[in-house]
């Protein structure tokens, strides 16, 4: 231990843990993978006064969904112990190759998907979206997100949002190829140095303009800008918050009716990590014809899809919990399962195929759903 100030056990106040087991009892990962037990990790750390050595699956299995944090009666953030262990391993160099590749890609190309910067705005080539000019006032800056920019399935979130903005008369701009990874996943994978670089680069980019409101596709980008950055001097909203405001102001009008039984999967970084539960539901219920049903595990009890905390680049055995969400959707009789996060969308889309429910349940992002009903 170099100094008491840097001691992660002190920093995270792990001596405050009373081993009540609420964290491990409610952890979505422990539900499917016996090897991961956040309570045991904390116990080991406190007893040995140092970060414990864990198996690769334990270190990289945590999705940082925040269930342990919101339930901890001592107001601790148990999952951050895992982040400290990740940071230590990152300094030592011994991390899974898929995580390594994602981090190196962020450093080199500004996205974790191994794609070049020149193709970042390829998804919007035919949409003629304007970029802001230096010093310009930008009433609405749409922050697209690496996954929406590059992932073929998630790209449709971007196209849907552009359609919604245009049909509601919103004047918006994007950074195009200059947009950079927000760093939320980098932070949660424990690469603090790289995260600092991203914060600096992004603030330099943002400060070239007078942004009034930034809207993100992804709850992960939202979380980064809202909770991890210091120095952002404009309002940041997840798009569900903006659409909810538009409904309140009577500006979002639907011309089509969708006569379907619809359910909603809460993204952890929107719900558990940022307490946004009502806005998505309000949007869904505003769409004419919809019969909304809740999943069995919902809101703060929602089950993680296993896309957060670097888990898009690391797999645990036995499938993903997204499959259980599809099973739940099936049990409650939903024809459409909605979500509001590109990672959840990708995982649920995979899960509907691996569970053989492709023909029964449709997976959609709220943005796509709203765009269809306009």
């Amino acid at each position: 231990m170099s100094s008491m100030v840097e001691d992660p056990i002190q920093k995270l106040n792990l001596f405050g843990c009373m081993q009540c087991a609420i964290c491990s009892g409610s952890c979505p990962i422990s539900l499917k993978f016996d090897g991961f037990n956040i309570r045991r990790i904390i116990r080991k750390a406190v007893f040995s006064r140092e970060l414990p050595k864990l198996s690769e699956n334990e270190v990289w299995g945590c999705t940082t969904c925040g269930t342990c944090m919101i339930r901890c009666p001592r107001d601790l953030k148990p999952f951050e112990t895992v982040l400290e262990i990740r940071s230590k391993l990152i300094e030592e160099g011994g991390i899974p190759p898929t995580i390594r590749d994602a981090l190196e890609s962020v450093y080199k190309h500004g996205n974790p998907w191994g794609r070049i910067r020149d193709k970042r705005s390829e998804w919007a080539e035919d949409l003629n979206i304007e970029k802001p000019k230096e010093g310009e006032t930008v009433p609405l800056l749409y922050f697209v997100c690496c996954s929406v920019a590059y992932d073929p399935r998630a790209q449709s979130i971007g196209r849907a949002l552009v359609n919604i903005f245009r049909k509601t008369g919103l004047n918006f701009k994007t950074f195009g190829n200059e947009e950079n990874c927000c760093g939320n996943e980098v932070y949660h994978m424990g690469e603090k140095g790289l995260f600092e670089i991203l914060v600096e680069d992004n603030l330099n980019l943002f400060n070239q303009y007078n942004i009034e409101l930034m809207v993100t596709s992804s709850p992960h980008c939202y979380n980064a800008f809202k909770n991890l950055y210091t120095g952002i001097n404009f309002e940041v909203k997840h798009y569900t918050q903006l659409l909810s405001d538009l409904i309140d102001k009577g500006k979002l009008k639907f011309s089509k009716s969708i006569e379907k039984v619809v359910t909603y999967h809460d993204p952890c970084f929107l719900g558990k990590r940022n307490n946004i539960y009502d806005e998505p539901r309000k949007i869904i219920e505003s769409v004419p014809g919809v019969k909304f049903v809740e999943l069995i595990l919902t809101r703060s009890q929602s089950l993680c899809c296993e896309g957060g905390g670097g888990r898009m680049w690391f797999d645990l055995p036995n499938g993903r919990l997204a499959e259980r969400r599809i099973e739940e959707a099936s049990e409650v009789g939903a024809e459409i399962i909605l979500t509001s996060c590109p990672f959840c969308l990708i995982n649920l889309e995979d899960a509907v195929k691996t569970t053989g429910k492709e023909d029964v349940i449709r997976v959609m992002d709220i943005a796509e759903f709203v765009s269809e009903a306009l």
């Binding site: 300094e91 190759p97 080199k108 070049i116 140095g193």
Partner: protein, 265 residues
């Protein structure tokens, strides 16, 4: 065991749309991201693994402009002990042979001690795959190319696996000192953190030119190279693809007749 590892700073061109520059002999580099050559990354990792097991010192050498120090910094951050950058306007236009000559002169004039020299099997930019074996020849030591595994390290020799065509592997025993050209997949290169690279920024990198390593203008660059790059061009797009339709036996017959017609069988 002292190891020299030769590394190259190359552009990442996997997805980039490349264009030829005004000289007609190079690609436009604007907007390209540079990093350590993929094969060299495995060579560095292999050197680190050997150092961790048997001790000794690792020296990384590159030939390249100031920016190439980024690759050397990464090597230092991973655990390489010394780094040398060879740079000179005279080096421009050096082919694989002359590149090996520059490396050889540096190793000899600096009197670098080595049991092993590792290079990547080839470079991702020019893909010549010549430098490692030529360097061995110039130094008068053994070499083994396309090494996939270092199976055994003895006092005076190594047992290594090399990759052959058709999925075959050859196992050879070779006396030290030796040059190994490393194939990708031999190991899993470690991650180097930003904090690690920042710490490595303080470490001195030795920078040397042609004269410092005893080379004259006629020894290097185009003047010293047996091969000269005349022209670089993007192959023209042609429309030769034909999709055969029908059941398996029909498609097979058509395919055989096409292959015969073209004199391929």
């Amino acid at each position: 065991m002292d190891i020299i590892v030769c590394v190259k700073h190359v552009p990442d061109t996997a997805e980039a749309e490349l264009t030829i520059d005004e000289t007609g002999k190079d690609i436009r580099k604007t907007g390209l991201v540079f990093d350590i050559n993929e094969w060299d990354n495995y060579a560095v990792e292999e050197a680190l693994l050997l150092k961790e097991k048997y001790g000794g010192k690792i020296t990384a050498i590159t030939i390249g402009p100031k920016e190439a120090e980024e690759t050397l910094r990464k090597c230092i951050a991973k655990g390489v002990d010394e780094a040398i950058r060879l740079t000179d306007d005279l080096f421009k236009g050096s082919d694989g042979y002359t590149t090996a000559r520059i490396l050889c002169s540096a190793i000899k004039s600096l009197d670098l001690k080595y049991d092993l020299i590792l290079t990547g099997a080839q470079a991702g930019d020019d893909g010549y795959a010549q430098v490692g074996v030529t360097l061995a020849e110039l130094l008068g030591v053994q070499h083994v190319s396309l090494v996939k595994k270092i199976a055994e390290v003895k006092d005076d020799a190594l047992k290594v696996h090399r990759e052959l065509e058709g999925g075959l592997e050859e196992v050879v025993e070779v006396k030290k000192p030796v040059v190994l050209t490393i194939q990708t997949g031999i190991n899993e290169p470690r991650y180097v953190s930003i904090a690690g690279v920042r710490k490595a920024a303080k470490k001195e990198i030795k920078v040397l030119g042609a004269a410092d390593i005893g080379l004259k203008a006629e020894d290097v660059g185009e003047a010293g190279s047996p091969t000269v790059l005349e022209k670089l061009f993007i192959p023209p797009v042609t429309k030769q693809a034909e999709i055969l339709t029908g059941d398996v036996s029909e498609v097979s017959k058509k395919l055989v007749s096409i292959l015969k017609e073209k004199g391929l069988i």
